[in-house]
């Protein structure tokens, strides 16, 4: 296995938007005096939404537009997109960060929307599958998925495409093996993997050799 499958040690870790870390932080907020480093985090949250309990109104920037969401703090970004904003292109396959179907970009980083709380995404740039094409002109990754038949049922496809775009941008699609590895967080039960690989590698500028 070649070493390019794994990131060098100095690669910055993706922004942490997870539900898990939010819960840790919430716990911290309760004991502010004991945990001074968390104050800034609490302030950052309250700066956008004064109340973080119960249903509140807050603004998310999705696909370049400011969208108002009314939701409780426990609402995930995935459910906010699908159930509140009717952006159903982002799919729910497991709701536990195990399948990748809900992959979106937050500030350009691929992120699992099911493990992200909507209220924590204020002030960030969220891109979903609906925001990838420029009008009727498909993003090259979307066009490559159609060309290489990178899907059958289409349910994992938005997540695969969002991962694929990020994978190329991250520089993780330079070899077939590397792209396979870095696309392995997105499950496809129809088994379109060779075709997904072909699409990602084509967009990366090097056709798949197999």
């Amino acid at each position: 296995m070649s070493s390019d499958l794994f990131p060098p040690a100095d690669t910055p870790s993706p922004a942490d938007n997870s539900r898990r870390s939010f819960l840790k932080q919430s716990g911290g907020i309760l004991g502010l005096a004991l945990a001074p480093p968390l104050v800034s985090q609490a302030e950052r949250l309250t700066a956008y939404s004064k109340v973080v309990a119960g249903t509140t109104e807050f603004t998310l920037r999705v696909n370049g537009q400011a969208r108002t969401v009314r939701a409780e703090p426990r609402v995930t970004l995935l459910d906010a997109l699908r159930e509140r904003l009717d952006l159903t292109g982002t799919k729910k396959g497991c709701d536990h960060g195990q399948c990748g179907a809900c992959t979106v970009h937050i500030d350009g980083q691929r992120t699992l929307a099911c493990l992200s709380l909507a209220v924590m995404q204020q002030g960030k740039e969220i891109t979903t599958i609906e925001g990838l094409a420029q009008g009727t002109e498909l993003h090259p990754m979307q066009a490559a998925f159609i060309k290489h038949d990178g899907f059958q049922c289409g349910y994992c496809t938005p997540g695969q495409i969002m991962s694929g775009v990020a994978c190329v941008r991250e520089g993780h699609a330079d070899t077939d093996d590397q792209a396979r590895e870095w696309m392995s967080g997105n499950l496809c039960r129809c088994g379109a993997y060779p075709n997904i690989l072909a699409a990602v590698r084509e967009v990366a500028g090097q056709p798949s050799k197999g």
């Binding site: 939701a71 409780e72 426990r74 459910d79 699908r82 159930e83 009717d86 952006l87 159903t88 292109g89 982002t90 799919k91 729910k92 396959g93 497991c94 709701d95 536990h96 195990q98 399948c99 179907a101 979903t128 599958i129 609906e130 990838l132 094409a133 498909l138 979307q142 066009a143 998925f145 159609i146 060309k147 038949d149 899907f151 059958q152 049922c153 289409g154 349910y155 496809t157 938005p158 495409i161 077939d176 792209a179 396979r180 590895e181 696309m183 392995s184 967080g185 499950l187 496809c188 039960r189 129809c190 088994g191 379109a192 993997y193 060779p194 075709n195 997904i196 690989l197 798949s208 197999g210």
Partner: protein, 780 residues
């Protein structure tokens, strides 16, 4: 019927059928615009239902305290067995079940206090938001008086029995005297094969959105492979007429057999919607998916194979033991493929079942043929090694020139060409005939192959074609597209049948307001729907030809209708193609904005003998006897594996599949189906297993982190090829399905390659590293 036109005759010139057209639904799928069944958010007042399921596998619900949940904001209703509205007809009643087209098991939960399996719904919360419903469900206090469950046929408490029937196949079948043939055979091989429980796990979980538009009008957006079957079954259960229920499935996120049936949640959503007076969306969580829509049962098979010293089969005795639910005698019918795959003079098969505290298992991609092929194709490999024959040679030696089960000729069979083409593409000739001899660095390298086959199941359905004078067309059939490419291939067929470009055709499916057609399952949809659309187009031509020959202004005026043909959208004389005109001209003069045709398409032995399905008691063999042909698709898989002798890991390094399945409508989508089936099978071969706790009879790994399905890094590039086949007996299009044959033989091809690599035969699936290492510790 012999007087019906066939695509071969009317469309001899190449068209768009057979071309690798990109998916017509591709744009909707890559932009997120395709709406799946849980995504109809615009319904007025839509609310959410969440199921509460049992942690206990067997017992009785003694009480459910709903008070805390009831107090939660947004909660609209809580249903338990005590207040769930009664069904008009219930799966629990055998007489009622006769009215159902699609009932997967003879039990409906929440109809009583009984708990029969872990994960069984015991309550349902309806609330204004998903979060309110989810949280309230966690506050329900369900008390169950637990009893000791039976976990599987392997449980010492389980009692095994031989059922009268499993899925329409007798519990015991005999053809010739296989026991005697085995006993007197010079070469005798006996082997037992084990299979873990597998789950379909389509990426889209089961989901039902129910909307009562009026007290007698229900629309259901459901994850179903068959809108008509779901419509009929739901109507019967809810006490409605069939036409009062509309079922819509425009996009389906995979099915693989589990979405072929009306499972409990499909009925619970409309019950809840009626009670709260608002549309209700009910989506299974991923863990609920493991106990909500069936599974492929854990099973073992023992195959006793007798052969001559030259390697010719004399007889096979097959026994299968598997787990079923407390109410149903369900088993995949593994014996079918073992009985028919080779020129086998004698066969005997016995099914053993044991009832356990599980839901009924269900159809899973190539039910029966998939696990059955593991047994027969590994044993054939054993036979080849034992006699020093090439694995392909031993299969050719036993090549079935006709169907040994009924003596009928095949409607078409190109298996020899598949072997030859597969061997060529794979480089089979480079294989070292001795096993355990090939290495690449420290890795053990093995080549394996196996045969695939899948039967043609009879099916019928209707379609409507409307051709407009401007050359555009709307084509309709209430079929479903599981991702298999139905949208695309039917667009291609309609384009050629109508002589218009595919971009002029809009094909609508997935709705019971469209012409009725059967489910997408058993690899029937391509053959059936394409035939009905093709024949509906012929009706359009007949109407237009009739109009032309009666029209004084037409160059065809006065010609006999039978002498006029359609060629690429032009009506012309058969004998004098120069004499004719475009169909638009005929329509313009007759002031026809459009012309409609409808037809019934038939797939399988009902194609030539429509009466064959009239007798419901007739089994598949009898139906085929009526038609005079046995109908199957055939193919081969070849694979190379690399086994790490230190870690016990098996990686598939190369894959070649060659299929013969009649006319291939679209090689691009067909290739995707074949690699998809192979990957599904690789998962089953190497990693997929759902584990039930032997004491609690509860799944221990009901999620996608611990139920391992293949990921991109598990899969090499794959080569797929098709042998073109002309089959005039199977349907008007000459098409056989390929969704299921693509998984048949896959687990055996991998196991045979592992045997070639290591010299060790692994007969227990999945072949996980622990099993590989254990095998490597044993002498070769």
């Amino acid at each position: 019927m012999d007087n019906e036109p066939q695509f071969f005759e009317t469309n001899a010139a190449p068209g768009v059928v057979g071309q690798p057209l990109s998916r017509v639904d591709g744009w909707a799928k890559v932009t997120g615009q395709a709406r799946y069944s849980a995504e109809y958010n615009q319904l007025p007042g839509l609310v959410h239902a969440v199921l509460k399921t049992s942690d206990v596998a067997k017992g009785r619900v003694t009480s459910i305290d709903t008070s805390a949940a009831q107090r939660q904001p947004g909660v609209l209703a809580i249903f338990t067995h005590e207040n769930l509205p009664k069904l008009a007809k219930t799966p629990n009643n055998p007489d009622d079940r006769k009215a159902f087209a699609s009932s997967p098991m003879s039990f409906f939960p929440m109809a009583s206090d009984q708990v029969h399996y872990a994960g069984q719904p015991v309550a349902m919360v309806v609330a204004d938001t998903l979060e309110h419903a989810q949280y309230a469900a966690t506050l329900l206090k369900v008390n169950i008086a637990a009893e000791v469950p039976v976990s599987s046929y392997l449980d010492p408490k389980a009692t095994s029995y031989v059922p009268k029937n499993v899925k329409g196949t007798a519990g015991v079948t005999k053809r010739g005297d296989a026991q005697a043939a085995f006993r007197s055979a010079p070469v005798q091989l006996t082997a037992t094969y084990h299979h873990a429980t597998n789950h379909h796990n389509p990426m889209e979980p089961g989901a039902t959105t129910a909307h009562w538009e009026a007290p007698d009008r229900l629309t259901v957006y459901d994850t179903t492979q068959g809108v008509s079957e779901t419509q009929k079954t739901l109507a019967a259960m809810l006490g409605l007429a069939t036409e009062q229920v509309r079922v819509v499935t425009k996009y389906l996120g995979g099915g693989f057999g589990c979405k072929a049936w009306v499972w409990p949640h499909v009925v619970l959503a409309p019950l809840a919607a009626k009670a709260v007076g608002r549309p209700v969306k009910l989506v299974l969580t991923r863990p609920q998916q493991f106990t909500g829509m069936g599974h492929r049962e854990e099973q073992e098979q023992t195959l006793r194979l007798g052969a001559t010293k030259e390697g010719k089969l004399l007889g096979i005795v097959h026994e299968k033991t598997s787990t079923t639910s407390p109410w149903d005698d369900y088993a995949e019918t593994n014996s079918r493929i073992i009985n028919m795959l080779y020129a086998l003079p004698a066969f005997e098969s016995t099914y053993h079942l044991a009832k356990a505290s599980v839901m009924t298992s269900t159809s899973t991609r190539a039910p029966g043929d998939m696990p059955g092929s593991f047994a027969i194709e590994c044993s054939m490999d054993d036979l080849a090694y034992q006699l020093g024959l090439d694995p392909i040679q031993v299969r050719l030696l036993n090549y079935a020139e006709k169907d040994a089960t009924n003596g009928h000729p095949w409607s078409s069979k190109s298996l020899k060409q598949c072997y030859a083409r597969g061997a060529e593409l794979f480089g089979w000739s480079k294989r070292n005939p001795k096993n355990g001899q090939t290495r690449q660095g420290k890795l053990l390298v093995g080549y394996g192959m196996a045969t695939a086959s899948y039967p043609v199941h009879n099916s019928v359905g209707n379609a409507r074609v409307r051709l407009y004078a401007d050359g555009r067309a709307v084509v309709q059939a209430g079929a479903t597209d599981l991702g298999t490419g139905t949208y695309t291939i039917i667009t291609q067929v309609a384009a050629d049948a109508l002589g218009v470009p595919p971009e002029n055709v809009r094909f609508e499916l997935g709705d019971t307001i469209l012409p009725t057609t059967q489910w997408s399952g058993g690899s029937t949809a391509a053959g059936r729907v394409s035939s009905s659309v093709y024949l509906a187009a012929q009706e359009v031509w007949q109407k237009l030809i009739k109009a032309a020959v009666m029209d004084k202004k037409s160059p065809l005026y006065g010609a006999k209708a039978a002498d006029v043909v359609m060629e690429k959208g032009r009506l012309q004389l058969k004998a004098d193609p120069g004499k004719g005109e475009a169909f638009g001209e005929v329509m313009k003069r007759a002031s026809l904005s459009d012309v409609e045709g409808t037809a019934q398409g038939r797939y399988g032995s009902v194609y030539k003998e429509p009466g064959a399905t009239a007798d419901a008691n007739m089994n598949k063999e009898e139906k085929e006897a009526a038609a005079g042909y046995s109908m199957h698709a055939f193919g081969t898989h070849f694979c190379e594996v690399h086994v790490d002798p230190e870690l016990g890991t098996v990686r598939v390094a190369r894959w070649v599949s060659v299929m013969s399945a009649g006319r291939i409508l679209n090689p691009k989508t067909a290739r995707s189906q074949v690699i998809g089936g192979a990957i599904f099978g690789i998962g089953s071969a190497l990693m997929e297993q759902t584990v039930r706790d032997p004491n609690l009879a509860r799944y221990t790994n009901a999620d996608l982190a611990s139920y391992h399905v293949p990921v991109n890094a598990d899969i090499p590039n794959m080569t797929v090829d098709f042998i073109d086949e002309h089959d005039p007996h199977v349907n008007a299009m000459g098409v056989k399905g390929i969704g299921e044959i693509s998984i048949v033989g896959v687990t055996a091809a991998v196991a045979n390659a592992v045997f070639h690599a290591t010299g060790r035969r692994l007969r227990s699936l999945p072949m996980t590293p622990d099993k590989v290492l254990e095998a490597l510790r044993q002498p070769a």
